[in-house]
């Protein structure tokens, strides 16, 4: 009975959107015909000139559209963190019942915490949990933000390069144009682009994850952690098998390096495959607009799973690094 009456209008808005959407795209002969999305592996440059000519001695820094997305994502995350802490503090002062944002974040983080505790054990859960939670929330935001309508489709028009496919422009008012489905010489560069559709972002996260795994391993086992890679433990007792152990240890280094590669390509490949899939389906079945829309729904699912998998794998590798299998093996004999 405490539910106030005036909150009911929100449901009607959702229902109206559900009706208006199909009418706009299907019913009236296509007011918004989907235009082909330009695909590029590298992030596009919004401004042709670099904003910083020589960034920390590494070369020119361009204003790419993943850079703007990164800034927006970080601002949103800071707002989320601030409102969560404020919401939890308010509930602490009143009746200890978390509500709103605090409640939602508490539910998610509690699940992550329990998962980490089950995998890593009571001792190391406090060291590993922040990495899991941060990566999950960050990648989740990065993956889901690009599903907002207009995220990749509002931007500046560049002239298309020779030989590449562009689209024709249709003026609306002033300097604003529609990008139409007909071929032309305009190339749309969105102000924003999915953050995980940039290999730099996924590579950075993969490096953080793998390097922190080594650091947590050293914290847990001390210098003995490195004997996983340079295994000289049995070298002098049993020369032949000791040498073999050493070679196997060297292979561990390669497997560690391939973790970076697999982290990078898993996230990037999944999200980029989504972009390409939507683009191809638009060019084939663009007139049945419900099909790309359904694919965007699938993207929601993929983004959720990939964020979870990235965090989960980081957590599992860190938990493995805290448990040295070599020592247990020696004690058993």
């Amino acid at each position: 009975m405490e539910q106030p009456k005036e909150r009911h209008w929100r449901r009607w808005i959702v229902l109206a959107l559900m009706i208006i959407g199909p009418i706009l795209i299907l019913g009236v002969g296509g007011i918004f015909k989907p235009a082909p999305i330009p695909i590029s592996v590298a992030p596009e440059k919004i401004l042709e000139e670099p904003i910083v000519p020589n960034f920390l001695g590494t070369g020119p820094l361009y204003l790419t559209n993943t850079l703007t997305t990164l800034i927006v994502t970080l601002i949103l995350l800071i707002i989320l963190a601030y409102s969560t802490s404020r919401s939890l503090k308010r509930s602490q002062n009143t009746d200890l019942v978390p509500r709103g944002v605090g409640n939602a974040m508490e539910a998610i983080l509690e699940m992550i915490y329990n998962l980490t505790e089950g995998s890593a054990g009571q001792k190391w859960v406090r060291a590993i949990f922040p990495w899991f939670a941060t990566i999950l929330v960050y990648v989740l935001f990065a993956n889901l933000l690009r599903l907002i309508p207009g995220f990749e489709t509002i931007g500046v028009i560049h002239h298309v390069e020779e030989g590449a496919a562009g689209s024709a422009l249709q003026p609306i008012a002033g300097h604003w144009y529609w990008v139409t489905a007909e071929p032309g010489e305009g190339l749309l560069v969105g102000f924003f682009r999915g953050l995980s559709v940039d290999m730099n972002f996924t590579l950075a996260l993969a490096l953080i994850s793998v390097v922190m795994t080594q650091i947590i391993g050293v914290r847990a086992q001390g210098g003995g952690y490195w004997s996983k890679y340079f295994n000289t433990r049995r070298m002098f007792k049993v020369p032949f098998f000791g040498a073999m152990d050493f070679l196997v240890g060297l292979l561990e280094i390669i497997s560690e390096l391939s973790k970076i590669l697999s982290f990078t390509f898993r996230l990037f490949g999944n999200m980029f495959a989504g972009v390409v899939l939507v683009a191809i389906v638009v060019s084939l079945l663009g007139f049945i607009t419900i099909v790309p829309a359904m694919l965007m729904l699938f993207e929601l699912f993929v983004g959720l799973i990939q964020a979870f998998v990235f965090g989960m794998l980081t957590m599992v590798f860190m938990a493995q690094a805290t448990q040295g299998h070599g020592e247990e093996h020696a004690e058993a004999h």
Binding site: V41, G269, N270, F272, V276, M312
Partner: protein, 79 residues
């Protein structure tokens, strides 16, 4: 019949690269089969099995994603 033989070979190479996805498909199928059998025998382990299943799927899916990335690199002329 005209065009660049290099472009043609790019498409052929992209198609060949995606053969690797077959193995990932088999792998995902096997891991889901194992998890479902386990869940059917012992429904209490549902949550635990689901997490590990998704983890295993992610590992085998990564192989298909490598193929996909190689195919994209060929199609979009990155290398």
């Amino acid at each position: 019949m005209e065009g660049n033989i290099l472009d043609a070979m790019r498409y052929v190479g992209a198609g060949l690269a995606m053969i690797g996805a077959a193995g990932a498909g088999v792998g995902i199928g096997l891991s889901v089969q194992g998890a479902l059998t386990g869940m059917a025998r012992n429904p209490d382990t549902y949550g635990n099995l689901l997490t590990n299943m998704i983890l295993g799927i992610a590992f085998s899916e990564a192989i298909a994603i490598y193929c996909l990335v190689i195919a994209f690199l060929m199609l979009f002329k990155v290398v």
